[in-house]
Amino acid sequence: MDILNALVVFLNFVFIPAATYGSQLALGALGVTFVYAILRFSNFAHGDTMAFGAMVTIYATWGLQALGVSLGPLPTALLALPVGIAVTAVFLLATDRVVFRFYREKRAAPIIVAIVSLGVMFVLNGIVRLFIGVDDVIFLDGLRQIITPADFKAWSGLDEGLGLKMSQAITLVVAIISVILLFWFLNRTRTGKSMRAYSDNEDLALLSGINPDRVVAVTWIIVAALTTTAGVLYGLDKTFKAYVYFQLLLPIFAAAIVGGLGSPLGAIVGGYIIAFSEVIVTYAWKKVVTYLVPESWAPDGLLQLVTTDYKFAVSFSILVIVLIFMPTGIFKGKSV
């Protein structure tokens, strides 16, 4: 029995990675929920918008690196992030102008717009692959590890090491700051409140003098900030791979729906629920259990419920279960 070592293994292999992944999903789900609440459709292009934002940020990072700019221990990508957000915002506003505005003015049914976003997704998908390719891109520089497992072992005298990667720490900090900013914006500022009003009742917002075009534009800018941030954090933490973002669409939607579509708080909680479920179900618990039980009980197998190849099955199962038994999600979102 060695509870401390078990705890360290749990923190190192389950808790920290899941919290990081959960933050990335939460930022992604916030964007999905935002478009759903205000523009009233599920934006299937969301994952590829993340890829696009991350791609622009990577180019900006390379540019800064070529100029010799660096943030010391922090990754240069943080400095390039505002550039990525700005370019993505311009791109999304242009997409809205060319594609979505047409359907909005025709008062098209939202289901039509959702299908249109599928088309936007394919185009974005192609653009990203055309520019940066399909290979791994590693753009993390600066300090890799804030705490290395070896240092931790030496400091604590335990058998197991606990590591905290720079990308993980940054993800958690940036996610918390983004969420606080977003909630402050929605509940305290005039523009934020006007967006909630528009989401609540478009006609009444118009009667109050709220300009719908402005609300839509601000929505896209916020979505650009959320997607690019989520995409860059995911890319820093893992690696950048064009198609991975497309696959992230499933856990992101699962997160938004579990929390309750249209509820920002729900998106955050949903993100962590999906991430923790995925990691817990696909983690091989052998080591943790071996530390916790008497030696003779030590398991032979890996104690892994599903292999990581099936991690998407986890979010998919949660999605199906929630839609059947609790369709409005935890925070009573707007889905029925």
């Binding site: 289901i111 009003a197 009667l207 109050s208």
Partner: protein, 279 residues
């Protein structure tokens, strides 16, 4: 496909009721006058008037046929008529929630036919729709703040005035408007419209669905608002009660003017009494 068929296809949801993909709740149903239009001077004439209004929704048939509604400054005008007479439509047309095919709208010496609703709000018009007239997910105070959206000055004084007019709202200011009773919601709706300090207040059946006691109370408040110098144009189902407080009344039938006169004249007109006031 013709453009008509195209539009039909775009709006067809083909039985899709899955709200996990789209959200139709709170979606706009109006096709208001598009932004970008201009007002131009049109001196003379009444303070607020829709003159010779003809129009309908979308590409549908005309609902209004050469309908004229006018009200002088500080007066109360009431539109009454049977169901489907186009009363609400006339009011929406005056506010620009419905583009006119013929006719014009005039406010305070200006022709505002081409202005979008937010621009009309900026010129001193306020509109209280019959249904869905509060932001249900927002608090009472936030509802009032949204009413004052176009104001850049300090509007806390106006909010106090609204709270004085409807004291119950002061108590419930932090409560979501969706949790209030029907009568209280109507008060929030009227309060929201008053927040811009409008010159003209358009009320679409303000007493629909509230109890008789609340209805009397609402009428009293409306008279109080009119005494403060705000011009009022109101559509009412409770024709008798509304005409009693009206300076001028319009009876619409099938989208056209049928009878016009002061409230008293209409109340004593045997034809109007027989056809619309139940004897």
């Amino acid at each position: 496909m013709s453009e008509e068929e195209n539009l039909k296809a775009l709006r067809n949801t083909r039985g899709n009721k899955d709200a996990s993909i789209t959200r139709t709740e709170g979606m706009s149903t109006a096709e208001p006058v598009r932004p970008g239009g201009h007002a131009f001077p049109a001196p003379g004439g009444p303070f607020l008037a829709g003159e010779g209004m003809t129009g309908g929704y979308g590409r549908g048939a005309d609902i209004l046929h050469d309908c004229t509604i006018a009200v002088e400054k500080g007066q109360i005008a009431v539109i009454v008529g049977p169901n489907g007479a186009g009363k609400s439509t006339a009011m929406k047309a005056i506010f620009g929630m419905l583009p006119l095919r013929k006719g014009r709208v005039q406010l305070d010496g200006e022709d505002i036919t081409g202005l979008a609703p937010p621009d009309r709000v900026a010129r001193g018009m306020a509109f209280v729709p019959q249904v869905n007239n509060v932001f249900t997910s927002m608090t009472v105070q936030e509802n009032l703040e949204m009413g004052a959206f176009l104001r850049r000055d300090d509007f806390s004084g106006t909010m106090e005035q609204v709270f004085d007019l409807f004291p119950i709202l002061r108590e419930k200011r932090q409560q979501p408007a969706g949790e209030l009773s029907g009568g209280q919601r109507q008060q929030v709706a009227v309060g929201r419209a008053l927040m811009t300090e409008p010159k003209v207040l358009l009320l679409d059946e303000p007493t629909a669905g509230v109890s008789p006691i609340v209805m009397d109370e609402l009428f009293d408040r409306i008279i109080e608002v009119a005494r403060a110098g705000i011009t009022i144009l109101m559509v009412e189902q409770n024709a008798r009660q509304a005409l009693e407080i009206a300076d001028i009344g319009y009876v619409l039938v099938q989208g056209a003017n049928a009878h016009t006169g002061t409230g008293k004249e209409l109340l004593s007109d045997p034809v109007v009494r027989r056809s619309f006031l139940g004897g």
